[in-house]
Structures are given as C-alpha cells and as structure tokens.
C-alpha cells in the first residue's frame, strides 16, 4: 500500500485561520517541559521586545499538522494514519510566533517516494499572518509503513 504519486505538486489552500492564544502557548510550553519564561510571562516576553508571550520553537507543528490533516483525510492520498511514522521535521522561522497572531497555512506536497514496501511523503506548510506576513515554513516527512 503506497501513497498516490500524483499528489506531488498538489497545493491544499489555507483553511480557517488559527488564532494563537496566550493560554495555548503556555499549555504547549508546559507540555514540552519548556522552562524559558518568555513562553509564560508577558512581562518577560516584553523585556525581549515581543508584544506578548512567545511560542516555543516547535509550536508551529500544531498549525502544520492541521494542514496535513487535510491531506490525510483526502481519499485520493491513500494514507493510512495508523501506519504513519514521523521521519523528519524542520522549522524555519521568519519571525517568532506570539500570542495574538492570526495565522494561515498553505500546504504543498513536495515529494512522494517509495521506501522498500512503504512510502515517504514530504509536505511543506507556508505559514503567514492573515495580512500576508511570512511567519514560518515547516517541512515534514511522514513514512507510511507497509502492512505485513
């Protein structure tokens, strides 16, 4: 069971915007056991020059995985979510995400390749504000393990 190779080049347009909340940043920071106070304390973030608490460096995965969910739910993709393993991940931040941002993610399918009996798919989410400011680019490769 592979992945449909015709997906390469497909673009999934941004869905509903994602409103970055202060409590969500705190919740995510706590869940990743981050200690840096700029994730929790507005004053600490302001002292670093930010308008509000700063998201941890991997926070954008929430937005990227929402975009990926469209692909996984697409019957044309042939992806069995229960057999998906995360193979690699990259975040490039054009500027840090802070509470109050309202973000959009456009998803690009950059690569599909066979890996033994399984297959690997590489997607890229281009994250911007609703005003069009570039915020982050995330690149994820998912390995879909073959059924025995």
């Amino acid at each position: 069971m592979g992945i449909n190779p015709d997906l390469v080049g497909r673009i999934y347009p941004a869905g509903e915007s994602y409103q970055v909340g202060r409590e969500k940043i705190r919740e995510f920071a706590k869940a990743t056991k981050a200690a840096n106070q700029a994730h929790y304390d507005v004053q600490a973030a302001r002292e670093l020059g930010y308008s509000d608490v700063v998201a941890p460096p991997t926070f954008a995965i929430i937005i990227a995985q929402r975009a990926d969910a469209q692909l996984i739910a697409d019957p044309a993709s042939g992806i069995d979510f229960s057999r998906v393993v995360h193979a690699d991940q990259r975040f490039t931040h054009h500027r840090p995400i802070v509470a109050g941002d309202e973000l959009l993610a456009e998803l690009y399918v950059d690569q599909v390749r066979e890996m033994g009996a399984g297959a690997m798919i590489t997607t890229r989410a281009e994250i911007t504000t609703v005003a069009g400011e570039k915020i982050a680019t995330t690149v994820s490769s998912l390995l879909v393990r073959a059924e025995d």
Binding site: K24, E27, F28, K30, A31, T32, K33, A34, A35, N36, A38, H39, L48, Y50, V54, P56, P57, T58, I61, I62, Q65, R66, F81, S82, R83, V84, V85, H86, A87, D88, Q89, R90, F91, T92, H93, R95, P96, R145, D148
Partner: protein
C-alpha cells in the same frame, strides 16, 4: 546575552535530561492536537507492531530545544530547527523514560552572526534524533 565572538566550534553549551511518562504523552497529545493512539494506547501500539507506547517524535524534538532557549535567553532567536527521528522513544508504564540532551556549537557564520547548535539526544542508551540542529541568531 551570548556574545557571538565568545563562541568556538565544538564548545559545549550545556546538557539536560527530560523525564517522560504516559501522563506527559497524554498532555502533549492534548496540547498539540496529535491524538495518534500509538502515543497513549498500549494495546493499539502493539497491534501495529510497535514494542509499546512511543513518545511523539515532536514531544522529543519539542522538549530538548529548551536547552537552547535557556542558553540563548530568547527563544525567538532560534530561526531554524530540524531533526530526523531515527528511533522511537518507548515509554513504559509506570517507570517512564529519561531523554538526555547535550548541545554543542556545530558551526558559526560570522557574516550572518548565527550559530548552529547540534543536539545529541538519546534515550535507552541509543541516539533517538539524528541531525538535530538549531540555528540561533545572535
């Protein structure tokens, strides 16, 4: 504040350990929205031929970067962060697992004034992340 000029390639920036148990994975699932049952349901994990419940790769990646955030002082200075997930981090109940991380200066770019911090991340005595690298703007 870290001075770019004070850094040397190969310099250790620090090390840290992260404890992870099943409750931590449930918490991460909720915070991230990634509810794949391989990260919290042992029966399901075994049915799909995993040894047991495994941590989200993104939990491991997300938890080890705080070493760099704390070192540089400003988490927003981390402009690029990547890794490859090489081995699953198996999290047994109730004992959990210890993830250890050590950061080193891997490369310096004096023009861009960036430092690449290479993170060595292991659990169960083996490397779980490969090419785990964060680029910091100084």
């Amino acid at each position: 504040m870290i001075e770019f000029e004070s850094l040397e390639k190969g310099q250790v920036i620090g090390s840290h350990t992260v404890q992870v148990n099943r409750a931590d994975l449930v918490r991460y699932a909720g915070a991230s929205g990634d509810f794949n049952p391989i990260h919290w349901n042992e029966r399901f994990a075994k049915e799909v031929e995993l040894p047991s419940v495994i941590a989200h790769g993104m939990f491991t990646m997300g938890s080890v970067i705080d070493l760099v955030s704390q070192w540089v002082g400003n988490p927003g200075a981390i402009i690029d962060y990547q890794t490859r997930f090489t081995k699953p981090v198996v999290v047994e109940d109730p004992e959990g697992t210890t993830i250890s991380v050590e950061g080193k200066v891997g490369a310096l770019d004096s023009e861009a004034r960036t430092a690449r911090i290479d993170l060595a991340v292991s659990a169960h005595d083996s490397k779980v992340l490969l090419k785990c690298q964060a680029v910091v703007q100084l």
